[in-house]
Symmetry: C2
Subunit: 113 residues, 2 copies
């Protein structure tokens, strides 16, 4: 038997999904937006009206970043006046499930000893 | 009916668990250490021998951080010579399950057109 142990190489972090967690938590309104979407509030104007301290500009930045990551879809309806809604994508659903588990883990941490 | 929408307040990110993800992915050997532990390689000396490019100093920093977060337990055996082993805690198991899902999400992202 060879006495030399099998060498294991470095395991690389999933950079994109890890960056998603960091960025989304960095964008302080993302979690609020997900909550609004769950409540069926999916138009930017409604969102701004529903949340204290949320401006249109900041919301748009937040929505844009979420669309870039593929977490949200922007759906434009060709109506008069034009209507825009946001929806959680399939990838987004997976991502939100992970965020929910991080939240559960936080509760676990908070209740330790 | 009141026309004023119910105001929703900002939802705060679970700071500690989010920081765990960032820190663990930032510590470039953590994922390798978890893999070693899964393979039953749980003593620092064995770990260094099993992994190319991993130094004792860097490994110890990585292990220490994981113990601080409560992901790993350090178990010291009162033997001659003294023996030290690392184990994944219950919290750690939960955390590793989340990391596995982030990895799966990454594969989902990578296979998008």
């Amino acid at each position: 038997m060879n006495t030399k142990a099998k060498k294991i190489s470095q395991k690389i972090a999933p950079s994109q999904s890890a960056r998603m967690v960091e960025t989304i938590y960095g964008c302080k309104w993302s979690l609020t937006v997900y909550q609004l979407l769950q409540e069926g509030i999916n138009r930017p104007g409604e969102m701004v009206r529903a949340v204290d301290g949320l401006s249109t500009k900041v919301l748009n930045q937040c929505l844009k970043r979420n669309v870039e990551f593929g977490i949200l879809n922007k759906v434009s309806f060709n109506e008069l006046p034009p209507r825009v809604e946001y929806q959680v994508t399939e990838l987004g659903e997976q991502f939100l499930a992970i965020l929910a588990q991080l939240e559960a883990l936080q509760k676990h941490i908070d209740t330790r000893d």
